[in-house]
């Protein structure tokens, strides 16, 4: 069994390195994106082999799923723009813009040296006594949850998770600030897709997905699962509903959408502050309150994460032709000033 296991590990590792190399070397964008998704799925196999089912779930849903979907969606915009000309540099990179050979050579040599050095250093490192894992295991009962990863994420290092949500919100605000606005995606409300099969799948899959997401959020305290995995599942349901025209695409213009995006973070911060008078430290849950508070925070986060992911996926704009007014270097370096000036002139 160990020999078989080793063969499987070796195959996974070879596949990973092979896929990565091919995807970085290929000149065709579509191929690269397909390889990226395959790479992500292979990687989640690797996480299972390394005894990390929590990560395998997240990798399949977020790393391969959402990221792959983001790339495909963006790719779709590019093909719309160039029509049928497959030789556009947007989709086929002939490498003519790559840096000169000497740069590649020096960098490649450096990278090779680093691979050898780091590999040698890490393989040479011996066993060390593990302190932290034992400590985490010993104090896990105090966190109110039984899944050690959830315990670390939402109690021992809850602050990191709060800031991680802030990263998502920052990316969301950044994407919104690109002002791509209310591009119609799929169909408008009240104009359901005429395709009966898609409709049937939506009606069947969305309830199942929602139930599974609720289950994943809830089970995250004892078993693999949690807000991020559940949120990305819920996002899948949201994308399906938007594509089928049941839900309007969420945009920055809609106040409930903004409220849901900010809600998870707001709830998390307020929970952290609420316990301050009782325990004196931010996010230090009072005794007996850890489990309900963690569950409440996870539920809020699940909704927030789902809305952010749907929004990031749906809100990809068509790429317009270059606008001559904006293409040239802006002389003032200050478009607001220029915009105002245009206003006054007219």
């Amino acid at each position: 069994m160990t020999a078989l296991g080793f063969l499987l590990d070796a195959a996974v590792v070879l596949l990973l390195v092979g896929l990565a190399t091919r995807l970085l070397l290929t000149r065709h964008l579509f191929e690269a994106i397909v390889l990226f998704v395959s790479y992500g799925l292979t990687l989640s196999l690797a996480w299972v082999r390394l005894g990390a089912p929590n990560i395998a779930l997240a990798e399949a849903a977020l790393g391969a799923g959402v990221t792959g979907a983001l790339f495909l969606n963006t790719y779709q915009r590019l093909t719309e723009r160039i029509g049928d000309g497959p030789k556009s540099p947007l989709l086929e990179d002939d490498g003519s813009r790559d840096p000169p050979a000497w740069f590649k050579g020096v960098l490649g040599g450096g990278v090779l040296l680093l691979v050898l050095g780091a590999g040698w250093a890490l393989l040479g490192a011996g066993r060390r006594p593990a302190f932290l894992p034992h400590e985490i295991a010993a104090r896990l009962p105090e966190t109110g949850v039984q899944n050690p990863v959830t315990g670390v994420l939402l109690n021992f290092r809850g602050y990191d998770t709060l800031l991680e949500i802030a990263v998502l919100v920052a990316a969301m605000a950044g994407v919104w600030s690109l002002d791509r606005g209310s591009r119609r995606f799929g169909r408008a409300r009240g104009e359901p897709d005429e395709d009966p099969v898609l409709h049937a799948l939506t009606r069947f899959a969305v309830p199942v997905t929602v139930v599974t997401a609720v289950y994943l959020t809830w089970v995250g305290s004892t078993e693999p699962g949690g807000a991020f995995q559940a949120g990305s599942l819920l996002a899948g349901a949201g994308v399906l509903l938007t594509v089928a025209g049941v839900l309007p695409p969420p945009t920055a213009a809609s106040r409930p959408v903004r409220a849901m995006v900010a809600g998870g973070m707001a709830g998390f911060i307020l929970a952290g502050i609420a316990v301050l008078p009782l325990t004196g430290q931010f996010l230090h849950y009072p005794e007996g309150w850890a489990y309900p508070m963690i569950l409440g925070i996870e539920a809020l986060l699940t909704v927030s994460i789902a809305v952010v992911l749907v929004e990031l996926f749906v809100d990809v704009p068509a790429v317009p032709e270059p606008d001559p007014a904006l293409e040239s270097v802006d002389p003032s370096g200050d478009p607001l000033g220029r915009a105002l000036r245009g206003k006054e002139g007219s």
């Binding site: 690269a32 990221t67 780091a118 066993r127 950044g174």
Partner: protein, 115 residues
Amino acid sequence: MNPVDLYMLAGIVITLIALYAALTRAHLFWKVLAINLMGTGVFLILLAAPSRRTPEIADPLPQAMVLTGIVVAVAATALALGIALRVIARSGLPFLPDGDEEDQGSGGSAGEASR
């Protein structure tokens, strides 16, 4: 060789070839793809190496770090693709112009052109 060693070495190799690709592929989408791969390489090191050094107990802390890292990578990818699309919308090409080109541009020629 222990299977965990394999994953750790794969992590090192993937991190560094992805770093190489991020710096040498001019196309923006490959840069974003390469940055994603570089992240996964670091995650492999982060998860495989500690369990190699302390095999007697599973360590949840690296798992929590990798989970956080995956979410951060998705967020960064979304923003990077958004800005890349705008670069294409502005210049028609998925490349960043050379630094020098850009430097010259702001001062002399473009300023004159706008007159």
